[in-house]
């Protein structure tokens, strides 16, 4: 069983499954630190914090947006709105994919008109998800400003989209996958970011 060459850290929860070819690039503590820094950057760049509206892109964006909101609430001493916006119905690759992708939850508890919307995603790559999210967002109203948080920016952009707040830049090979793992529906789930490369001789 060739599943040794994986970097495990102290905080890596046992229940996150490890596969051959996995490389942990950010553990739970690292994620927490990155979000705390991003929270300060958000405060620095936006004067009117009462107008903030964090909109998570499921699934990975959901726990990150909640944690970011908690950090912001501590700094700003006021409540921060959090919504969830699925981008699947706005994707530009639905024709190409054979099996239809499963839809995910959308919960937008408040109007976006006039608000500073901060989209929160786990991994930014091509920029196509952010493009879809912006289109979806506009169907909910007219935000005064839209900014983007990505915990991981792995490059390979295909659209002219800039990430405003990056947790960590991770140069990757396009064929590798980068995933946020550990989210199971609860905010307390320890998370980690894993780079996964297909191991050619995994079975040998």
């Amino acid at each position: 069983m060739p599943n040794e060459p994986t970097v495990r850290t102290e905080e890596t929860p046992a229940r996150i499954e490890t596969r051959p070819g996995d490389r942990v690039v950010l553990d739970n503590r690292g994620i927490q630190r990155a979000l705390a820094r991003i929270a300060h950057e958000v405060v620095e760049r936006n004067e009117d914090l009462s107008n903030l509206y964090l909109v998570a892109i499921p699934n990975g964006g959901v726990p990150l947006a909640r944690r970011l909101a908690a950090s912001l609430e501590k700094i700003a001493e006021q409540d921060v709105l959090v919504g969830v916006l699925d981008t699947t119905l706005y994707r530009d690759d639905l024709v190409a994919s054979g099996e239809r992708p499963a839809l995910r939850r959308t919960e937008m508890p408040s109007m976006v008109d006039g608000r500073i919307v901060i989209l929160v995603d786990d991994v930014a790559k091509t920029g196509r998800t952010i493009r879809a999210a912006m289109d979806a967002l506009m169907d909910f109203g007219r935000p005064s400003r839209v900014q983007v948080v990505a915990l991981i920016d792995r490059g390979h952009r295909e659209l002219p989209i800039k990430i405003d707040y990056v947790g960590k830049n991770i140069p990757t090979h396009p064929q590798e996958t980068v995933e946020l793992r550990g989210y199971d529906g609860s905010d307390d789930d320890p998370l980690e970011v894993v780079v996964h490369a297909e191991v050619e001789d995994a079975a040998s």
Binding site: L89, Y90, L94, G98, R100, L103, R105, E107, D139
Partner: protein, 313 residues
Amino acid sequence: MIGRDLLAISDLTAEDLWKILETAEHMQEVGRRDIKKVPTLRGRTIINLFFESSTRTRTSFEIAGKRLSADVVNFSSSGSSLSKDESILDTALTLEAMAPDVVVVRHGVAGVPRRIADALDAPVINAGDGAHEHPTQALLDLFTVYQEKGHLEGLSVAIVGDILNSRVARSNIHAFTKMGAEVRVAAPPTMLPVGVESLGVKPCTSLREAVDGVDVVMVLRIQLERLSGALFPSVREYAATFGLDREKLRYAKDDVIVMHPGPVNRGVELAPDLADHRPSVILEQVRNGVALRMAVLYLIAGRAPAPIAEPKQ
């Protein structure tokens, strides 16, 4: 596996049904938005090919398609060349030449949608064929019950009415039994198909027996316009014995819901006050129909198009 077409519930697995219900739940959220439209099927064309009159099913498919940004074209038998004796297949092939991405078919004869599906490249959705199946109606019924009860397994469902001639009954029998519900059917003996037990349902010859302790009563429309042979002595007698009213509903569970695929013959199969108020959920069914059909269109339409065929010699 949900295939290219949606022709019958009997073709689907419980897993397929769950996938459709889950998708419908998300589509419901789109319907609650201020702007009830998503760009998913932009540039796709849906043809509603209705050889039999229908208002709610056709409108429901039309709204569902439009909410997904598809272009929807209605083609009904009245005022078309169908009344000029063009054969069904010729009509279908003519439409095919206009390159639709989905064709929704209703026809009075069982099996026509499948026949059309075999002839066309575009996926076909059966919107009711004769006394065979009406899959999207059963799906929206499942969806409504699931939303009301929170689960489907272990529920008991009574279907009352012309089981023999009802495509709604047939599709619902398949749908609810696949999901682990217990299904009873009740009708005068002339309206119960022989050997209906083989579908996994319990036949009852009285309404009292059928509704006893059930979670759901599904009342079917007596198709007065189609009753050529005498299946029951008179409408009044049917109403008295198999028409559902609050008195007869007492034997069901306290939280029973009453469903009807519409349009209701008030005072025949369903008492008027019951048609308008809880526990009947008839308007919920209509509402859910749009979200459910959006789900079906999403799962079926707009898949990778078949490679363009070489011109035939």
